[in-house]
Symmetry: C2
């Protein structure tokens, strides 16, 4: 007998028929003698509908009321999944985030989990029930409903798996697992059997849409091993866990492409202490997340700063930076939106040389120009023209022989 | 400055535009210097949609999960109304039933309110906020979400008005108030300025759809004076309160028609102690509410029992009664669905004679045959052919000169 936490995303519980299928899968797993805790998202589309309704009422709804509103999406699903299980003769009980003992800080729409009290869940598991928990939500010390922000349901599942000492945590989604590249772009992409937290984190921050970094970080911090797999079939997925020795045999584990970035160039600024700080302080004050940063200095003490920001934030970035230009010596600002960031990720890089050279040669052979390069211990990222993103991904995938994994 | 509890029904908050109108009305009342607590229902149609989705998942959803599901309808509305008020610059905060301190017993789908702790509401009112409370719902001692059953939002408003010591309780609906008869049937029907709890109760149990008896009973018990009025205009409505002396000048206050009853006849049963008890025990065990009851005894010790049940329960009644027929001496069962119950209500009946005679004469003049008669202290009800319901209502309305109020 194992204790399993399962998370089903919005597509997996998208309508009544899908909910029934999920219930069948839960029953199947329970009939094998397991204790099951299920975390569900809102039905696909419901959260966007609610946001649209809120915006129709007032253009800038308060975050506290948004949480009150959005939390009903998951509350609907938990009740329907519990009912579907009852229909199959499986004892089940639904829990809101608050009822599940998920306590957060007071920040609305992006609350952080502060503590989990799994006593009620433990009691119902012992009574033989399947426990269905609303993902994405919690309650603060004042009893206010909070939501955890994007990817919140994954986080709920992983955060529950730790105090429940779950043997398995399964993240069900609409893809079969983590691939060496996006299979829609690179036809020869392979599903990975295992991947380390760090690689998964780098892939997540590199545009791979499987999971948000935040949930992976939480899993790494608390040592929660989880599996990413599909709710549409019974194939095994990808297991995400601490780095293990044999993983290092493979240098590169995956290629990711992020087309949602824009490149910002602040040129002709004085190369003196504090210039870069002023630029990035202005962006931080505007809550803009800056990704790749490169600075180069010309011979007459004039520097250029280049970095990427989310494409949705380009207008905000321009507004934030314009007042700073004078302070840093009268620089110029240029924003390029038509870029893509390509990353190759692998823990094996730590001990293998030549990865950068292989990547650059592959891109050169494919006639793809590199505009910007940054590296971390287990990742190399380059900014290229968006029009070449797919060509470049296929070239990199082939160069590291990922299709032969 | 007055403290006002206002309740808006599902039609009043049916869509984004209606919600904005409700917010304007609340702002109008608050700008006059009043403290406002608002109770809202789910948007019209939402509850039925949710029920349909539940039934599509499983034909007999559990009551606990139905409460988990249905409570989201009101939770959506409170958030949207609070947002709409924010949009008008009015400080406002939404509360679920549990957050509002509404504690119920453990019965799901028809919970009874056991206690209200208005401390949080008091605090927010003192802070100058409008407090928006989800109607129809509460929380039990175990922290489970419960719902109060039909008419639950009216009950929430009236139940909150008592501990909050509200100066006014306004029940906003889609009609202008309580009428002497259904204005769609009796064109000359007049809106009543005031009506006593007892009259309102008799009207409610006689098919007038304005409010459920339960809320009126609660108001009577705790002396909560409330006003039934329209959210679609600013006309004064009908004030419901304890009987006052001058009310007695008017003998009959209203005529109500209920077409949702069926007549059940159990004939040829032995007239001995226990026969009727067996019949009504069987119906009670099947949770069927019996309304008018008449028994007559023939000369050879053979009795007939006639009574009415809700039309939706006729099949259940048949199933419940068939096994009992033998036990009561081999009686026969007949069910007539094409009936209507017409009632005239008025506290003045207590001190005036001749009301029954006037009613029966009016019906005779209109060629309406009476099948069954029952009376209470302040009501006379008759069962007639459903085809004559409108004619009979108009005749009774005219006979008691209700159009001249």
């Amino acid at each position: 007998m194992a204790r399993i936490v399962q998370k089903y995303g919005g597509t997996s519980v998208g309508d009544v028929e899908r909910i029934k299928k999920v219930a069948e899968r839960i029953k199947f797993n329970r009939d094998e003698g397991n204790e099951i805790v299920v975390v569900v998202s809102a039905r696909a589309g419901v959260t966007n509908e609610l946001i649209a309704r809120a915006k129709a009422v007032t253009p800038h709804p308060s975050e506290r009321e948004m949480d009150m509103l959005l939390s009903i999406g998951e509350q609907e699903t938990i009740a329907l999944v519990a009912m579907a299980l009852h229909g199959l003769g499986v004892p089940a009980v639904s829990y809101t985030g608050g009822q599940a003992g998920i306590f957060t800080d007071k920040v609305h729409t992006r609350a952080k989990i502060q503590a989990i009290n799994p006593a009620s869940i433990e009691k119902d598991l012992k009574a033989g029930k399947v426990v269905i928990v609303a993902g994405f939500q919690g309650v603060n010390a004042e009893g206010q409903i909070t939501t955890l922000g994007r990817g919140g349901s994954d986080l709920t599942a992983i955060a529950l798996a730790a105090p429940l000492k779950a043997d398995k945590c399964e993240i069900y989604t609409d893809v079969d697992g983590v691939y060496t590249a996006d299979p829609r772009v690179v036809k020869t992409a392979k599903k990975l059997t295992e991947i380390s937290y760090d690689e998964m984190l780098e892939l997540a921050s590199s545009g791979s849409k499987v999971m948000q970094s935040r949930s992976v970080e939480f899993a790494k911090k608390f040592g929660v091993v989880f599996e990413v797999r599909s709710s549409f079939n019974y194939n095994p997925g990808t297991i995400v866990k601490e780095e293990v020795a044999y993983m290092e045999k493979v240098v590169v584990r995956g290629v990711a492409v992020d087309k949602d970035q824009a490149k910002v160039i602040v040129s002709n600024i004085l190369d003196k202490p504090g210039s870069a700080a002023k630029v990035f302080r202005a962006l931080a004050d505007a809550s803009i997340i800056v990704d790749m940063i490169v600075q180069n200095v010309g011979r007459n003490g004039i520097a250029n700063l280049t970095f990427t920001v989310p494409q949705t934030d380009t207008h905000k970035a321009q507004k934030a930076l314009e007042p700073v230009l004078d302070e840093v010596g009268g620089g110029q600002l240029a924003i390029h939106e038509g870029i893509a960031k390509l990353s190759v990720v692998g823990v094996g890089m730590k001990t293998h040389s030549g990865v950068a050279a292989t990547l650059f040669q592959a891109l050169a052979d494919a006639n793809v120009n590199i505009e910007l390069i940054t590296t971390s211990e287990i990742k190399i990222s380059v900014v290229i023209d968006q029009a070449h993103a797919e060509t470049a991904a296929r070239a990199a995938h082939a160069a590291f022989q990922l299709d032969q994994l």
